[in-house]
Amino acid sequence: MMMDPIDFFLILRDSLWVCLVTDALLWLLFLGFVVGLVLILRSPLQRDVWRNVFQQRLAVVSAVVLAVAASFALLDSIHFRQPLPALIEDSGAPQSTEVRYAVEVNSVLDLLLSGLRDSYEKTYSAPLAVNLSALEPVTIALPDGNVEVRREAPRLKVAGQAFPPGPVSASVYWIDVAKRLAVGALGGLGAFAVLAFIGLALHRWRRRAAPQSRYNHPVARRWTLITLSLIFILAGVMASLSDNFHVFGTDKVGQDVLYQVLKSLRTALVIGLVPTLVTLPIGVVLGLAAGYFRGKVDDAIQYVYTTVSAIPGVLLIVAAVLSIQVMLDNHPEWFATAVERGDVRLLSLCIILGMTSWTGIARLLRGESLKMREYEYVQAARAFGVSAGRILLRHILPNVFPIILITMVMEFSSLVLAEAVLSYIGIGVDPTMFSFGLMINNARMELSREPVVWWTLTAAFIFMVVLVLAANILADAVRDALDPRSERP
């Protein structure tokens, strides 16, 4: 299942890199996150605040889970087009020196999961099954020379290769599953142990270099290690089971469901994070300006945000998405590949979600800046003749920063949930992409099939709940620690 590392790098070396807009934005956000982390670690005050967050076990576990999801999304955000094999003429010489690239756009994650991606079955198959979930007519040669046609669930094409052809006896099956479970768990634990050993050694070395280390968070460290070890074991089990099975089964066209949920993580993170890039500039500028300048400016800004928030959120999004969709449909010539088209649609969805959700933070910040403009230090700055823009930037913005951050983190989970609903309505992400919403949408008809196809929905459910729950828990912890308005018990 794992591909040869040398092949892996050769493919990456020869490919044409494709940078989608959302790729760039996701990596930009990651960069911003790293910069923010460095700034926090450098400032003693901020470190103390964040120590409160990461002294809570659940917050640490959630942060690790989100980080793992984010690393999948980031790996899925490096795209490339593989070179096509050069056409050979009759004479044996290559037709031209120009390299041609496949139309199909893949990501590094696709390459890592190529075993899962390419393992198509005929149609539905249950998790860990060796037979198809549907019955098919099978002709069987009877010993008396006649043939009989029976309806049977045939063996899968890709899964169950480790077993000899024909029916698999229960004992053979379960021994194989148990063996793979054990091997996977041990392998995952081993990989984790090696990495943890290196990490702890580095940590120890740093501690020795600077005995009064500022990175000493026993709770955070312990729970990071526990969570990571569990995730590694889980990943190991999945990987070793995937060698012979589809862990979450296959969908209607026979595609592995585990691959689909892993691909959906990127869509969920893009939807959860990118709209805030639109929301924040609009909401912060308008909110602060309305509160600080009051009067006519306030009236105008209040008018704008009352108008925007008067339109029911879903309907405004629907209206905007429908219009954009018609525009994209009428201009197929804008995009070279289907992936680029899907990406532009995803981006426009993010922009629309951002444009419709800035009113909340604008109203919040208007109140704050209305209050803060009366504070003594702001009055003093004004008396010294500091310009309004500078006051807002230097004296007010840093003080409302916690509110901005909390809103952003809280927004994440509601955006991820909104994506599912929008994709269900049919105005979400492009149907050629992977997303939890699309999976749920496809799955709702499957529950009325016979036998019931429950696994796509279950897989989407598990991954989505874990992601959103982690985000909610982390948001709570951040709010408790950072919000000046919440009283700490």
Partner: protein, 326 residues
């Protein structure tokens, strides 16, 4: 009071015009009527005549804002903007793509929407407030902690899962209620309504319970609560007589504003359970890319929201005698 009401109604007019400008820009300026015609008629092999005919039939062949070929007031009134957007103020919603009167449809579909939304709202509100009060009564104990964890858990589950799961378990496996459908008489249609109402309540219970709990906890730290306790009132009396009544003020802000919008129904629940309400009407319109219907629903939604805002202000004077509207 009356003057206040009139002023608020007067303020609502520019906001509604703004709403119309936004929807107008989305529907007619991002895509020209020609684009819409091409999409409705199918992109391939559309003759210019067919487009012109399609536009003329729907009145989309006029200029957007100013008609220079007309005279006097007609310059403004004989345009798409006036025809399609300003007419909405008079309650003239026009016709949908399939030629039906939108206003008529809205009147018909309001009932089924309300049949779902009203019980959901009333029972849900009562239930969440009671649950929140219970958590506050047992604050600091394991019951409170489990309750909060449960709330966060429920909040993290997409409402789609509740709907699909509820439908699967109660309608398909246990066969307690029909999977979907509706009867025009709401009194006999209750067995169609039980599941959608229950599912909507469960889907919304986590977020609101947690929110109300925070509000009540904030109230419980105030001085009047200490006074009430000091004079020997029981915990329950303090909670129901004082904390609940004071906590209602912030709760009203979020609750009253949605009451008028109950007419609009719920997009998801109605379409899953086959309720012929306004929510499923909107979904169908979206699927058919019927812009006239979506435009009408946007306008209706905004009007109902603004009514909700005014009602919120009025409700304050009712629960909080300190507030006087001028």
């Amino acid at each position: 009071m009356l003057r206040y009401l009139l002023r608020r109604l007067f303020y609502a007019v520019p906001i509604l015009i703004g709403v119309n400008l936004i929807t107008f820009a989305l529907f007619f300026m991002v895509n020209s009527p020609d684009d819409m015609a091409r999409m409705q008629l199918g992109v391939k092999r559309v003759t210019p005549e067919a487009i012109a005919q399609w536009k003329a039939a729907r009145g989309y062949d006029k200029p957007l804002f100013i008609n220079e070929s007309a005279t006097a007031l007609q310059q403004v009134t004989d345009t798409i903007f006036f025809d399609k957007s300003m007419r909405l103020f008079a309650g003239e919603f026009g016709r949908s793509e399939d030629g039906r009167e939108i206003g008529q449809e809205i009147r018909q579909r309001m009932g089924p929407s309300l049949a779902i939304a009203l019980p959901t709202f009333v029972i849900g509100l009562g239930l969440t407030i009671s649950l929140a009060l219970m958590l506050v009564l047992f604050r600091g104990t394991w019951l409170d902690r489990t309750g909060v964890v449960l709330c966060v858990g429920l909040m993290s589950i997409s409402s789609l899962f509740f709907i699909i799961g509820g439908q699967f378990v109660f309608a398909r496996v246990l066969k307690l209620v029909p999977i979907s459908g509706y009867e025009s008489n709401p009194w006999t249609a209750w067995h169609f309504l039980v599941l959608p109402v229950a599912v909507s309540i469960v889907a919304g219970i986590g977020g609101s319970t947690r929110w109300y709990r925070t509000i009540f906890l904030e109230e419980i730290g105030r001085d009047y609560v200490r006074t009430a306790r000091a004079k020997g009132l029981s915990d329950a009396r303090v909670l129901f007589g004082h904390v609940l009544r004071n906590g209602l003020i912030p709760i009203l802000t979020g609750v009253v504003v949605v009451i008028p919008s109950l007419f609009l129904g719920s997009l998801l629940v109605e379409s899953f359970f086959g309720i012929p309400g306004l929510g499923s009407y909107t979904i169908d319109a979206i699927a058919a890319q019927d812009f006239a219907v979506v435009r009408a629903m946007v306008f209706l939604g905004s009007v109902l929201y603004l009514v909700g805002l005014i009602l919120t202000d009025l409700s304050y004077t009712w629960v909080d005698p300190r507030i006087r509207l001028k």
